[in-house]
Amino acid sequence: MNEQVPVFPDERREEYTILAPDMLPYHFEFLAYVMRGHGYHIEILHDEGREVIDEGLKHCNNDACFPALCVIGQYLHALKSGKYDLDRTALLITQTGGGCRASNYLSLVRKALMEEFPQVPVLSLNFSSLEKGNSLKLTPSLVLKLAYCVFYGDLIMTCFNQTKPYEKTEGDCARVREECSEKVKKLFDSGAYRKLRKNARMIAEAFAAVPYDYGHKTKVGIVGEIYVKYSPLGNSRLVDFLLSEGCEPVVPALLDFVLYCIVNTLNDAKLYGKRSIVTPAYRIVYRWAKRKQRIMNEVLRAGKRYEPFHEFEHLRSLADKVINQGVKMGEGWLIPAEMAALAESDTENIVCAQPFGCLPNHIAGKGAVRSVKKLFPRVNIVPIDYDPSATKVNQENRIKLMLASARNNH
């Protein structure tokens, strides 16, 4: 079955357009830019709407998870648009290699392509040595830059979300976001991207300069499955909806998820003796990334305007109070840990976004709500299922219910 998988000719990478799903709007913008610098022409897809979901339904087992349907739908919708030279187009997808279905997206994408676009190669972006023949060649310098994509994406996302609800003039925040993004791209060009403290300050100050009204806004945290947590296609534009309801969306950083994945390999070593030669390397990366997180938090705190990121070690200690860190499939223990961290930092309303029937979420999402509530009795958590047929009305109704009772409690 595997023999006819088309291989991406890495030596001719310049000729190809590589399509990537719109999973992390803030971060993938930088990822695409950085990759372009390495000869990969990445284009982030913004296809939306019912047709995209329908394409997904048509080409993928309907019991597969919703993110897979969205991603596959976006790919096929784009490939069918006629905008791309099909012999010079490839697809990019991320893989974590965990014990959840998500690791199989790549296979599902390939299967979906088999019928109509057999010539299109699918590239994997992963750090678990999967798909050796067809994964992006990750040179140390590229990996380093990708890490900074995460940092800058997180910074801009966090500052934007904390400023947008209060801006005086509609459009200011969007403009600042645009400006910051352009500046960050230039930093990648010049090599100055590694001056994290300075650049972080630049971003925080740019957003802090936006004129604002400080009224009371209900803070609403978003946790959950990684795709529906961040992707506007996946979560029916949840952030926009919350903004329109007069709330401040609090979206935890992507870095948390990256660190979570790294820590899981360390935990595996501790729990089951699963060690390999790369385990010490993971430990080094982990320490390094935590240092970077500390730098960003120092900057955010210094401005006195912005809530910093959750300290990761603190997240882990919160996790220990509600669940075991052995729960490592999907977003695992990170979900209840983030719920607890949000509750602790006065974000008492939380949307737990999950694809309908998401297996790890049975345990770490819905299943852990009670434990979090026991610890933080005031917290309001509403699990929302995302699904090709779930209507926006239903999803929004449930969020409104949460908000209404939040206002009641005040």
Binding site: N61, Y272, H362, N409
Partner: protein
């Protein structure tokens, strides 16, 4: 201060109320809006005028959200209820509110919490309506009947589709409508308890709200019984139907005053929303005319039964909701046809029709052969003494071939089911039936039509020329309801919704059941049939969606009966001059009584229905195995499922001195029970198993189920935990294992997330579990050193030495190994015996826990009774190689499936049937792989989805179809 006006626009009704400024009720009204909420509201507002000129207004309700766009103050429904309860029932502890399509639960004391039904939830007013339609009763009649119930049957509550599949067999077996009605209400209660309460007990003073709970006494009674509430604690306020409107009015306090005229104007000027729309079905009458003419060609000729003299053959299709009869002449002309909904009394219908045929024929017609097919095949064949019975898929195939000998694809959409089959080389190649969660069949449109106050035919016809058919989802009825709700909110017309529903039925069939990627995959010569296709809007939608012209016989609804008649004609031997069917005088005397009993033949305790006919013959149905049918059990037991189950159950043997450890006999224990029994007995503990799985056990743990959409095996685990807690064991042991045993068949060897981490969920959601009495260490069974360390630590209270733990671990692993060896050897024996006896073999492949009879519902026994030998995936996988798969092969249990499938492709006479638990996300991936392995090796793929429902009837059809198709394939080869 103004008077307060509260408006509640729900999915089916409009409620309006007026309060004075002190909150006293001046006026309430409650009207069904039949999909036209705005018009209905405007009418209701007329009565409001006499209570004042201006009002403070607030709206609530699922369709009320749209009114908020008119600049009206919107209150979330649960908040509205909250406000009203606080005022009128300040001492209430909880509120249960059932609406048309929502169910809500508010806990008021001990931490306020508010819950609404999720996106997958039946158990609401619409569900009750649907069930009443199924019983052909009005909701009021159903309610009245339910009060006379004697027995309550288990009916799946989660979703209307499941419930239907539970109810249909009961109806067909002649269970009383009173009992069924009561069972439906009980199902609604179960749904509320499991779906909404999710771990919190509903207790104290409970206020019950919403239309259904106000109008239906039976439902009230069911709630009171299940929640064990007396009159003092169950409060049914007289204002229940309009309660939300009252709450809205209370919340309107302080809103700016508004005149009724102003209000009306705002409602009238509501912007019509943006709805996704599709293309019209027909652009002109001419186009429709051409379409009709083309389909008019596929027809049968008629013969006058009043004059005809000669032979005839009768086909009876006893479907689940309809009964069809067709009498044909030897040259395939129609003498008599009949199509009727069962109304729960299928046998009466057929007997009456047979009487009619005899009287019309006036002795001139000799019925030489009668063949029965469909759902009620066995019962009808017995009752009528028919000559033949064939499985319905074969009947449809026969009929389709008559209209198009080149047919390569048949799709039949009936009232309750969708059947599709591909035809290759003149034989059925693959069969697809709709699974548990894919509704979108005929009765679905019917239910919608009724909800809109129309008959199905005019309703469907109005869609033909709709200009902007709405795009609705293609998944489940409950989802569809909310899609329709949204479309209504956005101002879609009835025509547009009708056309949209027709299209979604078709999409459901193509993308959900057939799972076609491109229309060409279906085939070149498509025959469509089933009553639903008589609906031109559905037929047209199908042609538009597939881009193909298809054949729809004029007798589309009678094809099963036609195929049966053809079968009777072909198989009646020349010597047989008259059928064995009941003669006219016999019919005169025909009658029957039905009686339900619980079979005590084995632990399955089937609800068996016994029909006794007036001539003394008996027919027994509802039994899973042959025992209940009064037959002797298959003597040579070639069923590895019962071997495994019994072997595991008899595992714990020794008494221990250290204490009693409870092992919940579910999920991973079906694989590792030998390991943990061996381990704990060696350590000196007594091993106590939880009770055997059963529905009762499930209900015992239902209140701690956190995620209602998890698989049934996982949800059952909650009951097992309760059972062990009640047995007073010292502690319960259930390990968390990310990794399963590495059997070297994949790139990794994970457990699925649910199996791996369920202990976390149990601990978080069962208040009775503590650090002391629930021990669940994280283990990797492949690593002895770490496992021994983790176990020593987890059991530190018992001060076991590392040496002892290691010895015990090794003893356990040895026991596990020898258990596996036993399974493999038994598998070999079964295969040998079966091949010696020429018996077909089925590898019933699933997960280890599918051995649980409550999970597999006795499918192994059913297979045995059909004369098949039953193997399991773990008995044969070692004989199969790891095939190359297109997916990440990283789960231990799933790797076994692939290898077992590979094994089947190499053995003649061995077929594989895959068992899939509903809600198992990982099987969405394995199913496609197993299918391609089997089909690549020239075998048929059959999948059976299992859940709480216990409906072996459908399973039997699938298995028989598979056997018939397999036999036909082998005959051709």
């Amino acid at each position: 201060m103004e008077n307060l006006l509260g408006i509640d626009v729900g999915s089916t009704t409009v409620k309006v109320c007026v309060l004075d400024c002190a909150g006293n009720i001046l006026h309430t009204s409650y009207t069904r809006h039949f999909a036209q909420p705005a018009e209905c509201l405007l009418r209701a507002l007329q009565e409001v005028r006499k209570f004042g000129k201006t009002f403070s207004v607030a709206v609530t309700g699922s369709a009320g959200l749209g009114l908020a766009q008119a600049g009206l103050f919107f209150v979330q429904e649960v908040q509205a209820a909250f406000a009203a309860v606080r005022r009128h029932h300040p001492f209430a502890d909880a509120v249960v509110e059932l609406g048309g399509e929502d169910a809500k639960l508010i806990f008021l004391t001990g931490g306020v919490e508010q819950r609404m039904n999720g996106s997958c939830a039946g158990g609401t007013g619409a569900f009750i309506d649907q069930m009443a339609t199924l019983l052909d009763l009005s909701v009021e009649e159903m309610d009245k009947l339910s009060l006379e119930a004697k027995t309550v049957y288990p009916i799946a509550s989660r979703c209307g589709v499941f419930a239907k599949s539970d109810i249909q067999p009961l109806l067909n077996q002649g269970a009383s409508k009173a009992d069924i009605a009561a069972s439906i209400f009980r199902a609604v209660v179960d749904q509320t308890v499991s779906g909404l309460a999710q771990g919190r007990r509903i207790q104290g003073q409970v206020v019950f709200l919403g239309g259904p709970l106000y109008f239906l006494k039976g439902l009230r009674r069911a709630f009171r019984e299940v929640l064990k509430l007396d009159d003092e604690h169950a409060i049914f306020p007289p204002t229940a139907p309009t309660f939300m409107a009252i709450g809205a009015a209370l919340s309107a306090q302080g809103q700016p005053a508004m005149t009724v005229d102003e209000l009306e104007e705002r409602i009238e000027n509501l912007p019509s929303g943006r709805v996704a729309v599709g293309k019209p079905l027909f652009s002109s009458q001419e186009e429709y005319g051409v379409f009709l003419a083309r389909h008019g060609k596929s027809d049968l000729q008629f013969e006058n039964i009043y004059k005809y003299e000669g032979d005839a053959y009768l086909g009876i299709d006893a479907g689940s909701t309809t009964t069809k009869l067709l009498l044909i002449t030897p040259d395939d002309k129609i003498l008599y046809s009949h199509y009727q909904t069962n109304k729960g009394q299928p046998l009466e219908i057929v007997v009456n029709r047979l009487r009619e045929i005899y009287s019309l024929a006036g002795g001139r017609v000799a019925i030489r052969g009668v063949c029965v097919t469909g759902y009620g095949e066995d019962m009808f064949k017995a009752a009528l003494k028919a000559d033949f019975g064939i499985v319905e898929t074969m009947a449809h195939f026969k009929a389709a071939t008559h209209f198009n000998p080149d047919v390569d694809f048949i799709i039949d959409i009936g009232g309750q089911d969708i059947k599709c089959f591909k035809v290759k080389n003149g034989a059925i190649d693959s069969i697809m039936l709709n699974e548990a969660c894919s509704s979108g069949c005929g009765s679905f449109i019917q239910t919608f039509a009724k909800a809109m106050g129309m008959e199905i035919e005019p309703f469907a016809r109005r869609g033909l020329f709709a200009e902007h058919p709405v795009e609705l989802g293609s998944r489940c009825t409950v989802f569809m309801n909310s899609s329709v709700k949204q479309a209504q909110k956005d101002g879609a017309s009835l025509e547009d919704i009708s056309a949209g529903l027709s299209a979604s039925i078709v999409k459901n069939a193509i993308y959900k059941v057939i799972r076609a990627r491109t229309p060409d995959e279906l085939g070149q010569h498509i025959v469509v049939q089933g009553g639903t296709f008589l609906n031109d809007a559905v037929l047209r939608s199908f042609e538009l969606e597939t881009g193909k012209e298809v054949v729809r016989p004029a007798i589309a609804g009678l094809m099963g009966a036609f195929g049966a008649a053809l079968y009777a004609k072909e198989n009646t031997s020349p010597e047989t001059l008259l059928s064995t069917v009941l003669t006219e005088p016999e019919l005169e005397r025909f009658g029957y009584t039905s009686r339900g009993v619980t079979c005590k033949g084995c632990t399955a305790h089937c609800n068996v229905n016994i029909l006794t006919f007036s001539d003394g013959r008996r027919f027994i149905s509802g039994n899973k195995c042959e025992r209940g049918a009064g037959l002797r059990k298959n003597e040579k037991k070639l069923d590895i499922y019962s071997y495994k189950y019994e072997t595991l159950l008899s595992m714990p043997k020794r008494k221990g001195t250290r204490g009693r450890v409870g092992l919940p006999f579910q999920l991973v224990m079906y694989e590792q029970l030998p390991l943990w029994t061996g381990f704990f007995e060696e350590c000196g503990f007594e091993v106590v198993l939880s009770d055997r799985s059963s529905r009762e056990l499930y209900f015992r743990g239902q209140h701690t189920v956190a995620s209602d959409t998890a698989c049934y095996p996982a949800k059952l685990l909650h009951g097992h935990i309760e059972s062990l807690l009640d047995k007073g064991v010292d502690f319960i042991f259930y390990p968390a294992e990310s990794y399963n045993l590495d059997e070297g068949s994949g790139t990794n060897h994970y457990n699925c997330p649910v199996v791996a981490y369920y202990p976390e969920l149990l601990r978080a959601n069962n208040e009775r579990l503590t650090e002391e009495n629930f021990i669940s260490p994280y283990l990797d069974p492949n690593n002895e050193k770490y496992t021994v360390r983790a176990l020593t630590r987890a059991l530190r209270k018992y001060k076991l030495s590392t040496g002892l733990v290691r010895r015990a671990w090794r003893a356990g692993m040895e026991k596990l190994r020898s258990y596996h060896e036993g399974v493999v050897n038994e598998g070999k024996r079964i295969l040998f015996e079966a091949e010696k006896a020429g018996m077909p073999v089925i590898v019933l492949a699933g997960r280890p826990y599918h051995v649980d009879p409550e999970i597999n519902h006795g499918i192994d026994k059913l297979l045995s009774s059909l004369g098949l030998a039953v193997l399991s995936e773990d008995a044969v996988f070692e004989e199969g190689e790891t095939p190359e798969v297109g997916v990440l092969n990283q789960w231990t249990y799933h790797a076994r499936l692939y290898r077992a499938a590979q094994f089947c492709t190499r053995r003649a006479g061995v077929n594989l049937v895959q068992l899939v638990s509903f809600g198992c996300g990982i099987d969405a991936i394995t199913a496609d792989e197993v299918r391609s392995i089997l089909e690549g090796g020239g075998k048929l793929y059959t999948q059976i989805k299992i859940d709480e429902i216990n409906n072996l009837g459908v399973v039997k059809i699938r298995i028989r179809s598979m056997l018939a198709a397999d036999a036909e394939r082998r005959r051709k080869q």
